[in-house]
């Protein structure tokens, strides 16, 4: 490896990037846009489920139950209705995702100590939201029932009873269970995977297409000098992206960054080197910018999105697919990012992921060099 040639290639590639508004757009604006878009849109929290209420009872007791629902952050009263027809309309038009129906005899039954039916309807077309809404509703109802029982016991016996089991649940690292806290770090990994492979997928193919490669291969420049020289400026560009993403996470999404920032950027460098070499390899094999950019997106986006543990837990996948996830570098980077971001842990725990990430990078760099032939066919 001749350093002067390496520097010459890196410098030339820098000039290409700086002088091509399109590549700057892909490398800076696109990832920021994606992060904003997904960061805000991709929330798995079920908050303030819009609910319509049909209060047939219209008593103090029924109003108390309603306030239990609307007072929690999980439900908001969309409107009060007085027929099933209206409920159906609200759910059909998606004005409401849930409906609460309190029967006429609610207060009497409750007062008489009878089991008191209350109906809850949810829009099952969105199974995820429906499940969560049902869960929340049951908790709200349970707490209310519990209070009523305790109150009755106190009235009858004149003594204060306590609930025998007192479960005090704590969600470590993400006490409010906010999905953005684990989505944003994962999102950074997924976006960087796609963008970095996309960026480098154009470089070698462009030289074949414009004919500059024919000139280059007539010179003494070696494959590794060319590939490494091309990678260097793109890795810096990628790190700039990571920096911007981390800043957005901090100031826009308020995701806590508890771990070591230096470790985060070191791992990002390793990850970028691997994913950019992957893009480079695609470019080398296809020799066409069009095909290479398409292939880069297909190869990186879906696997990183679906099989990396970004949203869907790898442990829930069929065993064969679980094995497949080891081939996806985003898997390691997401574990690293979530660990550094939320748990504040370092290499003492994440060593395996770090090693596998390095291994991926090394293999892809070697493959890219092997695939690059300085010959016309």
């Amino acid at each position: 490896m001749n350093l002067r040639r390496l520097a010459a290639v890196a410098k030339k590639e820098c000039l290409h990037i700086l002088r091509d508004p399109r590549s700057l757009y892909i490398s800076i604006a696109l990832p920021m846009m994606l992060l904003l878009l997904y960061g805000y849109a991709l929330t798995l929290d079920v908050d303030r489920v819009p609910m319509v209420i049909w209060d047939q009872s219209e008593t103090t007791e029924s109003r108390e139950l309603i306030s239990r629902f609307t007072g929690s952050r999980y439900f908001t009263a969309q409107s009060f209705v007085s027929s099933y027809k209206e409920i159906e309309h609200s759910i059909d038009t998606r004005q409401a995702l849930a409906a609460l129906i309190i029967p006429t005899e609610f207060a009497q039954l409750l007062g008489g100590g009878e089991p008191t039916p209350v109906q809850l309807i949810v829009d099952g077309t969105d199974a995820n939201t429906a499940t969560l809404a049902l869960g929340y509703a049951q908790v709200v109802a349970l707490i209310y029932s519990q209070e009523i029982i305790l109150q009755k016991v106190r009235q009858l016996r004149g003594q204060v009873l306590t609930v025998p089991l007192d479960v005090r649940a704590r969600a470590w690292f993400n006490p409010d269970l906010e999905s953005k806290n684990y989505i944003i770090p994962g999102l950074i990994a997924v976006i960087m995977m796609v963008i970095s492979a996309l960026l480098t997928s154009l470089t070698v193919a462009r030289e074949w297409e414009t004919g500059t490669m024919e000139q280059l291969i007539s010179t003494p420049v070696k494959g590794p000098e060319l590939i490494t020289g091309k990678l260097i400026p793109y890795i810096f560009l990628g790190l700039l992206d990571v920096l911007l993403a981390v800043l957005m996470g901090e100031y826009l999404f308020h995701v806590p960054l508890r771990g070591n920032v230096a470790l985060l950027f070191t791992m990002a460098t390793v990850f970028l080197a691997g994913s950019m070499s992957l893009g480079m390899m695609i470019s080398i094999v296809t020799k066409s910018q069009m095909v290479a950019s398409q292939a880069a997106i297909v190869v990186t986006f879906l696997p990183s999105f679906l099989l990396s543990g970004f949203i869907f837990a790898i442990s829930n996948m069929p065993t064969v697919i679980q094995w497949g996830t080891y081939l996806i570098p985003a898997r390691y980077f997401i574990t690293l990012l979530k660990g550094i971001y939320l748990k504040g842990i370092g290499l003492e725990v994440l060593a395996l992921e770090a090693v596998l990430l390095v291994l991926f990078g090394v293999i892809v760099v070697l493959l890219a060099n092997y695939k690059f032939k300085r010959k016309l066919v």
Binding site: L15, S218, T219, P220
Partner: protein, 313 residues
């Protein structure tokens, strides 16, 4: 030792043989022209001899080193300019030259001096900060040449360097080539222009992948069996068509407003031509016997290949 040598060099693409058993030798300090129509195999020959493409069989040598087994070793000795502009449009003239200086590892002490020399040679100094993409066709070619010369190669391979370039630049380009030749640089240039071929020391004529003639322009012209009759008509294009129709076996070429006819007996053929065109009310304005040009030779060669009379002895 010859600068370039090829022995049975062959390149096949599937069923197509682009270069067929090509053998030639180019002496050091020579300007050698590879001529032939489009698709004759000129570019493939260039690529094989520069070692950027592997031959199917045969071998070539640049200063005694095999272009197949030692393709890396020859790279410092050769400068290559591909047919397509192979430089970076978004880099300036100077940035392109500096890039190649770094790639070839031109010693830094000599680098600036060499760049100045090349800018002067190519008259590109006033444009050194202009982006290559904004240069005219002729200037682009001179920039390509400068980049190929930055490491002072012993052999220069130029693939149709003047294709699509205006005549003024072509003349300037050739002035530069002669200047290089005086510095003992061997030039291997391909061209489809036969007036350029006349400027070469020796010429190889490539047709359908085969080298069918290889000699000095003067000797190649001697191969022509017969004399060339140059005729001017009131309508040269129509006259040429009529003459071809009248004598399908003979070689008739159209050169601008003149018609060239290869003949064994100028007097007889002149009379016959006159009578042929008279039927169509065309007028023969003038006629004379001229020295054959390379184009006459090649037209007759192609004619022979298509099954006409044998122009070559």
């Amino acid at each position: 030792m010859s600068a370039i040598r090829a022995e049975g060099l062959t390149k096949r693409f599937g069923d197509v043989t682009a270069v067929d058993q090509l053998s030639l030798e180019v002496a050091e300090g020579e300007i050698f022209g590879l001529v032939g129509p489009d698709g004759a195999g000129k570019t493939t020959t260039m690529r094989l001899l520069t070692g950027i493409m592997d031959a199917s069989s045969g071998d070539g040598w640049v200063f005694g080193r095999s272009v197949i087994r030692e393709s890396e070793a020859i790279k410092d000795d050769i400068g290559y300019m591909s047919q397509r502009f192979g430089l970076y449009h978004d880099l300036t003239v100077l940035e392109n030259i500096r890039f190649y200086a770094d790639i070839y590892g031109v010693p830094r002490r000599q680098c600036e001096q060499k760049i100045d020399e090349l800018l002067e040679l190519s008259n590109l100094a006033p444009f050194k900060d202009r982006r290559a993409g904004n240069l005219s066709g002729g200037m682009k070619q001179k920039l390509g040449l400068s980049c190929a010369l930055i490491h002072t190669p012993r052999v220069l391979f130029l693939d149709e360097p003047t294709n699509g370039v205006d005549p003024l630049y072509r003349r300037e380009f050739w002035r530069i080539l002669y200047q290089l030749q005086r510095q003992k640089v061997t030039v291997f240039v391909s061209t489809a222009y036969l007036d350029e071929a006349e400027r070469c020391f020796r010429v190889g004529f490539l047709h359908e992948g085969k080298l069918i003639a290889c000699d000095t322009p003067a000797n190649i012209k001697k191969l022509l069996n017969g004399q060339v009759l140059e005729l001017r008509f009131s309508n040269a294009r129509q006259a040429a068509a009529l003459l071809r129709e009248d004598r399908p076996e003979s070689s008739v070429g159209l050169f601008g407003d003149r018609v060239h006819m290869l003949t064994q007996d100028p007097e007889r053929d002149l009379n016959q031509a006159r009578s042929v065109v008279a039927k169509s009310h065309l007028e023969l304005l003038s006629s004379r016997v001229i020295d054959p040009g390379l184009e006459d030779v090649f037209i007759s060669v192609l004619k022979k290949d298509a099954g006409g009379t044998h122009a070559f002895e």
